[in-house]
Amino acid sequence: MALYSRSGRPRPQSGGFELAAWYFMRLSGVALFALALVHFSLQHFVFDPSQQTSTWIFNQRWNSLFWRGFDWLLLMMVVLHGFLGLRTVTMDYLKGGRRTLALATLYLVGAVIFVMGTIVVMSVPLPLGK
């Protein structure tokens, strides 16, 4: 396909990525609406921050596969949704080299966060039955 459209405006190759991103922002938004709001309510209205020590987290809060799965799903959605969102923001306000740099940092941070979060959720032993 021509790099330039009929007249004037340069045509970046799309490859459908923008469509996918737009779509995914919406889907993950719906998912987050449930996940993030439930998570926040649980942490603040059902329990109180003062009781959420690390012991409590491992023994009570994450003492079930369901809640671990739930929080991991949340993490994944947040990282993807937030990452795509920040990508838009970055592309809006930065140009050229600074954009590339910022995006690279963003991807890196996104990956690190995802890995760190996953390690926590997965690696802490389930104190099942204790």
Binding site: A36, F58, V79, G82, V89, I113, G117, V120, S123, V124
Partner: protein
């Protein structure tokens, strides 16, 4: 430019959405770090927790909740318009409806979070 142009509801809605999105993202960074510590170094985590439970910490959580709630509601508003473009005619009404829900849910929520700090 943003400050020179007098946008109406739609522009404010968008600015808040963007700001809240970035704010939540920043908190998520923090939150993942602290949870990671809960696995790796529980003692440090428990110290951080003290901050969360303190009054400034609780104010931060209220703000976080507000950002999340606003972003969630406005996200729904946007998606409704995406699905039914004719709803754009009512975008301002939908935004005000968001604020009604925001206040309706947010005030009691903020109260619950702040209750320990207020000594109630």
């Amino acid at each position: 430019m943003l400050l020179r142009y007098r946008g109406s509801e739609g522009m404010v809605a968008w600015a808040f959405h963007r700001i809240s999105g970035i704010a939540i993202w920043l908190f998520v960074l923090l939150h993942v770090l602290d949870i990671y510590l809960a696995g790796g170094n529980p003692n440090v985590y428990d110290d951080i927790l003290k901050f969360y439970a303190s009054t400034p910490g609780r104010i931060m959580e209220v703000l976080l909740g507000a950002a999340l709630l606003y972003h969630a509601l406005n996200g729904i508003r946007i998606m409704l318009m995406d699905l039914w473009p004719s709803l754009t005619a009512y975008h301002k009404q939908m935004w005000y409806a968001n604020w009604a829900i925001f206040v309706g849910l947010g005030l009691p929520g903020a109260f619950i979070i702040m209750r320990p700090a207020l000594g109630l």
